[in-house]
Symmetry: C2
Subunit: 422 residues, 2 copies
């Protein structure tokens, strides 16, 4: 029987010693109150909360979990390295192996730099772009997420206008808007940030138009600016290289993170020879950027990416989930709005402007052992196999059935309403 | 016999796939060319380079290694958590335990936020300070290091004036300089950054005057600004709490990192209740900030900090090294300039303006199995016991002896000369 006694106690204790009881993208403050904030265990496609409830987890740590928790080949590679040495007075020799592996895996990459956060990689990309021709202006698609540093974090508290004085916003997927920005800042544009797909919270997700992608490349070339694809969230989930490779367009810089070591902490900036001189000029570093264990995990993750059918399997799992949910929703008189790539599906309800239906359904799913996020895109892992999808769909069917009884009395989430009112 | 065949090959390979072959604080570009860039193993106080040469390591991963590599209680705690779950869809319940442990360990701390890089913690501190009273100006002591983000990184490439438009520089240890800055920016100062001790590279290190420390506290109080101690490098190396606690002065915010999990990747911002409301307003996050394994390692590290005599032992080890080196130098006709706390000693040569003597000596040490940094402060770990210090001093004595023969032909390091010319 699902219960959350210990979870509620933990939230109380956390409120005293952690601001808001938790912060950042994994805070459950905007989720239904039943959502557990703290977890005790993870294995394969499943997570257990502090009360011992288990869930098929479709959030996958918000991206990092690509092959399943405790995936043996990667865990073993990490453990072997940990026994030898992790955070030493310099990198392990495997840093060179890892850089070589990225350079051979990702088409545009001639060099690699490793860091810890996705934001490290995007901030380094911005800095390299500015150093490239000693220019200031960064073009940034309105509403896209590129991290949580002062120049890009989505909330204004503690941010000053100077942090974004040289950031110019354009409309994603709109070649004219991009061309206008280049014209307005003629000779001043250092680089263009492009999210590989639109995968923002609360809204429909979508893939870019080819014309926009090609125009971005052309305008960067014509203006000697660097094209930056921020693949932190989508990297290796849509393709075995940069997410724009299947579109035939290569960036100058790409930011990777999240899934590249199946949960071990490492991110990367991958650049072409064109950007190498600028990358050699900047000074960036971090206490743990050169630790060996996450690099060993990343080497094995890249090996798994090259040698398994993880990509096809996660696409199939996403497609099966999507089809099953659509069918169930229709059978119970609901309509979903599923967008984005099936392997990173955004699952919202049609005609649910204040999210009350989606929130109510996600609670019904949760109590039946399925963790589906009500406003963030989901993620698949290789551990999300046919059995797991079947188990999920059995639970979601019951959740839709239960929703029929409760949807009439569903209320919008008050914390969410406060946020959306801003 | 010391050799570096494999190390040189690795450096060649690295040059092709990593900008400059390596970047950041662990790059050996400014060190003598004999210094290994890549390591293969670490245990206790020792590290092994890619050629299999072993060294007593006095750099300790530039700070993280506090109890020795492979220290069993911490490794076991981390391994147990790794088996349960590391990077999940939310933090482990042990995040609450860790925040509680910090709050009871560090005097000013009423709450904790965890992150990955030291720079994450300093950037969060800046953002919290600005959010506190919605002010802009940050006072920053000239020449101190607070990280490698655009607002603080020591090298100008890719940085624009806007990044530092609201940073005002004052003279460390000079209460009048600080008071003048407050006067000049009356009512606009958000916070004051203070390095707990001066521990910059290439120069003598020293501890602050009590008058400066007390004035910083008083001026922050009078002006409703937040006092920030950046304890990333020195935290838990000088005291079992914030480094200014022994001086009787508590900050509002302190940044910790490096040693808090004995090498596992985690950093922290520790704040008082005064700063809590602002901390609740900002949005900061990172893909791996809530991973459980480094938190398990940090909990056990804090336990070791509370229950062992690591602090007294590392102070003794530093004092023994310092005394032994001074004696040997004198016996061989050299004079050292040793500054900073003995447990984080800066070891330079007197009258060595272009560092040629120190560089030559560090190579002689290196070839005899002792890794001493020629321009950065050293670090001790609990594994640097009497036997290790004795082994070290036996080698350094021979290094001084050898130096007598080579010092006449020593040349300044060309890369270093280029840097210092700027």
């Amino acid at each position: 029987m699902w219960s959350n006694t210990k979870g509620r106690e933990l939230k109380e204790r956390a409120l005293r010693v952690i601001p808001n009881g938790m912060y950042g993208h994994e805070s459950t403050r905007l989720l239904p109150e039943e959502f557990p904030q703290f977890f005790s265990q993870a294995e394969g496609a499943k997570i257990w909360d502090a009360d011992g409830n288990s869930y098929v987890d479709f959030v996958c740590a918000y991206g990092p979990n690509l092959f399943g928790h405790g995936y043996a080949p990667i865990e073993e590679a990490a453990r072997r390295q940990q026994m030898l040495g992790d955070t030493m007075t310099g990198p392990s020799e495997i840093m060179v192996d890892l850089a070589e592996a990225f350079v051979s895996q990702v088409a545009h990459a001639d060099w690699a730099m490793f860091c810890k956060n996705g934001t490290d990689a995007t901030t380094m990309a911005m800095t390299v772009a500015r150093a490239h021709r000693n220019r200031k202006i960064i073009l940034y698609a309105k509403g896209t997420y590129h991290g949580a540093a002062p120049w890009c974090t989505p909330r204004p508290a503690g941010i000053i206008p100077e942090d974004r004085a040289a950031i110019v916003y354009y409309e994603y997927n709109d070649p004219e808007s991009l061309a206008d920005a280049f014209k307005q800042y003629d000779g001043q544009v250092a680089g263009v940030f492009a999210t590989p797909i639109r995968h923002e919270v609360f809204i429909d997700n979508f893939e870019p138009d080819l014309k926009y992608v090609q125009t971005a490349r052309r305008l960067c070339d014509e203006n000697d600016a660097l094209l930056i694809v921020d693949d932190v969230r989508a990297g290796f989930r849509l393709a075995r290289g940069c997410s724009w490779e299947p579109l035939g367009v290569l960036p100058d810089l790409a930011c990777f993170g999240k899934a590249i070591a199946n949960g071990y902490p490492i991110s990367a900036l991958l650049g072409s020879d064109k950007a190498r001189a600028a990358a050699q000029e900047i000074f960036v570093t971090g206490s743990f950027w050169f630790s060996a264990t996450p690099m060993a995990a990343a080497i094995e993750t890249l090996h798994q990416i090259r040698t398994t059918d993880y990509l096809e399997k996660t696409k199939e799992a996403g497609a099966a989930l999507r089809a099953g949910l659509d069918q169930q929703a229709a059978a119970h008189g609901f309509q979903l709005r599923q967008t984005g790539p099936a392997e990173m599906p955004q699952i919202l309800f049609a005609e649910d402007p204040d999210f009350r239906i989606g929130y109510a359904w996600s609670v019904e799913c949760l109590k039946r052992g399925v963790y589906l996020h009500p406003y963030h895109n989901q993620f698949m892992s290789l551990a999300h196999d046919e059995r797991i999808i079947a188990e999920t769909l059995a639970a979601t069917d019951l959740a839709f059935e239960a929703l029929k009884g409760t949807v009439g009395s569903a209320e919008p989430n008050p914390n969410l309403m406060k946020l959306l009112a801003h």
